[in-house]
């Protein structure tokens, strides 16, 4: 092929730059803000931070400074941030594990064992996405009270998997369905049980798709604000998301932004580590036997 003319290179380069800035600017903005002193937040340049400080992060763990100098301490509550952090970690990890376990089982049944009407099962599971979530939390609260799970983290461990499950089942079962029969058949002829064949052969093969399903679940779970703030009431039971929602932003804006970053940074690092695998897994779910 002939080399590209200079204007094509320039056009491509500026598009790449534009896309990068568009995607990263809001993240950068929130990061910069969380590193500012209140003085700089009021008088400084909004786009850069001249004297970075971790004081907003410290404030999440123990109240020290007076906010903005004109608000009394009485208005400011201490936040059990360590507890929130542990709760969040528990919920995120638990939801991902639960979703993966349940959806791998269902997807294997639908994609591999293929009971009669398996397509309709898969469609019915996927169709739960059309149920509008809007005011469902009112009856859902009644369910949680019946199960004695109100104001309990375990309530979220039931609700969150149901939000990611349909997509994961769809993706995993499409992948399992695409794998050729011979892959298992050989092991079965050798006398291995279906379970052995699954755990020894199929599961290791499908690692990229499992990564994709896991990252999708994490993204779904981390995007929820409403369920967490409705179902978790007492501070010691809250996740970071629910806790930050109770901040009064007029007084606590910088601490709130610091809290946002404190949750976001681990999640982003974790997802970034698996980012390539996420794409590979999505691709594998679409390509026959990849």
């Amino acid at each position: 092929m002939n080399p590209k003319p200079w204007w094509a290179k320039l056009g491509h380069g500026s598009l790449v730059l534009l896309a990068t800035v568009y995607c990263l600017f809001p993240i950068y903005f929130m990061l910069v803000q969380s590193l500012k002193t209140p003085e700089e937040d009021v008088f400084g340049n909004p786009l850069i931070v001249a004297n970075p400080t971790l004081q907003n992060f410290e404030e999440l763990f123990e109240r020290k400074s007076e906010v903005r100098g004109f608000v009394g301490d009485a208005l400011l509550r201490p936040h059990p941030f360590f507890v929130w952090f542990a709760n969040t970690l528990f919920i995120f990890a638990g939801s991902v594990v639960a979703t993966l376990g349940v959806s791998v089982a269902a997807a294997y049944a639908l994609g591999r064992l293929r009971p009669p009407g398996f397509r309709w099962w898969r469609r019915a599971i996927f169709a739960t996405y059309v149920i509008p979530q809007t005011i469902l939390f009112i009856p859902l609260y009644q369910v949680m009270i019946t199960l004695e799970l109100d104001d309990n983290l375990l309530a979220l461990l039931l609700i969150y998997p149901s939000m990611a499950l349909p997509f994961c089942v769809w993706m995993l079962s499409a992948y399992f369905q695409h794998l050729s029969r011979e892959i298992e058949e050989a092991a079965l002829i050798e006398g291995a049980s279906r379970a052995t064949a699954f755990f020894r052969i199929i599961l290791p093969m499908s690692r990229p798709v499992l990564v994709a399903a896991g990252i999708f679940t994490l993204g779904t779970v981390a995007s929820d604000f409403m369920i967490a703030s409705v179902f978790l009431l007492t501070p010691v039971n809250q996740t970071i998301t629910a806790g930050l929602g109770t901040f009064d932003v007029a007084l606590d804006e910088l601490a709130a932004v610091a809290g946002v970053n404190l949750l976001a940074i681990p999640v982003v690092l974790f997802s970034a580590f698996f980012a390539r695998g996420y794409v590979r897994g999505l691709t594998a779910a679409m390509v026959e036997g990849a």
């Binding site: 803000q33 149920i131 709130a256 976001a264 999640v267 980012a275 390539r276 679409m286 026959e288």
Partner: protein, 295 residues
């Protein structure tokens, strides 16, 4: 295959399927039933005395209410605008990343991040950055922007628009990555053939890339529809209903929580179901060719 072995296989399949089905039933079946039943009654936490069965009265009154039509229009415009923007940007990202260039891995990461950034909290940061409290360095500028937008489109327009921007920012990242995965799944020989067939890149894009990505486009559209409403719901909860621009979801909250009218609120949110089901049927119709030649 022997029928006995097949029977055992089917039994195993149902056992493996049961946790997923049970989970969905626990979380969805009773609430959905409650919502359908309530939409036929006058249930309200504010009302003394019993709840009356009113039949289709809630629906009848709703369709006669001009406020409902305003809400429905805003909902459709919101959904259409955000989806169009997300698809356009997402396609752009995917095509940009499809071919190798220096630093592609880093640009890919940048495009992946808006979706990976936990939206439950980033919506908090985003919303308060664009609608800042009075005492920040940029609040004067953004305040002026807010008032000029609001004075043209009505109070609350800027806040609503900022949620839209957020949804587009995050959704375009998700769709971009999804489509990139789709492009990777297309065998490269197909593109090589296409280059020989036609010199016009736009024609190649329309006749080769888009049809092959159809199932993924459909999936992306459905998921971005549901997240578009979830984002609004998040901000509604965050600001205790300070969004003045109502869409069907937030208006149903308003009816249920602020006005205590569970009946009309249920009726309103169920009005969405036929439309979403319609979208879903079209989706299945698009998915199916993919599943059939795989089977």
């Amino acid at each position: 295959m022997r029928p006995r072995r097949r029977r055992r296989e089917i039994r195993t399949a149902y056992v493996l399927l049961s946790p997923a089905v049970l989970l969905l039933l626990t979380v969805l079946a009773y609430p959905l039933g409650w919502e359908i039943w309530t939409s036929f009654t006058s249930l309200s936490p504010l009302q003394d005395g019993g709840t009356a069965f009113v039949g289709l009265e809630n629906y009848r009154r709703q369709f006669g209410d001009p406020q409902f039509w305003r809400v429905a229009t805003i909902t459709v415009v919101y959904a259409a605008l955000t989806i169009a923007a997300k698809l356009a940007l997402g396609f752009g990202f995917a095509l940009l990343l499809a071919r190798p260039f220096r630093g592609r891995a880093l640009v890919f990461l940048a495009i992946f991040l808006p979706w990976a950034y936990p939206a439950g909290v980033s919506v908090i940061g985003w919303y308060w950055s664009l609608n800042p409290p009075i005492t920040t360095a940029y609040s004067i500028f953004l305040g002026q922007l807010k008032y000029s937008v609001d004075s043209v489109l009505g109070g609350g327009a800027w806040a609503f628009g900022s949620v839209m921007l957020f949804n587009i920012w995050r959704g375009s990242s998700f769709i971009g990555v999804l489509l990139l995965a789709g492009i990777n799944a297309i065998p490269p020989e197909l593109f090589e053939c296409a280059v020989l067939e036609s010199k016009n890149p736009w024609r190649r894009f329309r006749l080769v890339t888009v049809p092959l990505l159809k199932p993924l486009l459909a999936l992306g559209v459905l998921l971005s529809l549901t997240t578009a409403f979830a984002d609004l719901a998040n901000v509604w909860m965050l600001t205790a209903g300070r969004i003045v621009f109502p869409v069907i979801g937030t208006h149903a909250y308003w009816l249920a929580i602020k006005a205590g009218q569970f009946g009309p609120a249920s009726a309103l949110s169920l009005t969405l179901v036929p439309f979403l089901l319609g979208v879903l049927l079209v989706l299945f119709w698009i998915f199916d060719p993919l599943e059939r030649d795989a089977a």
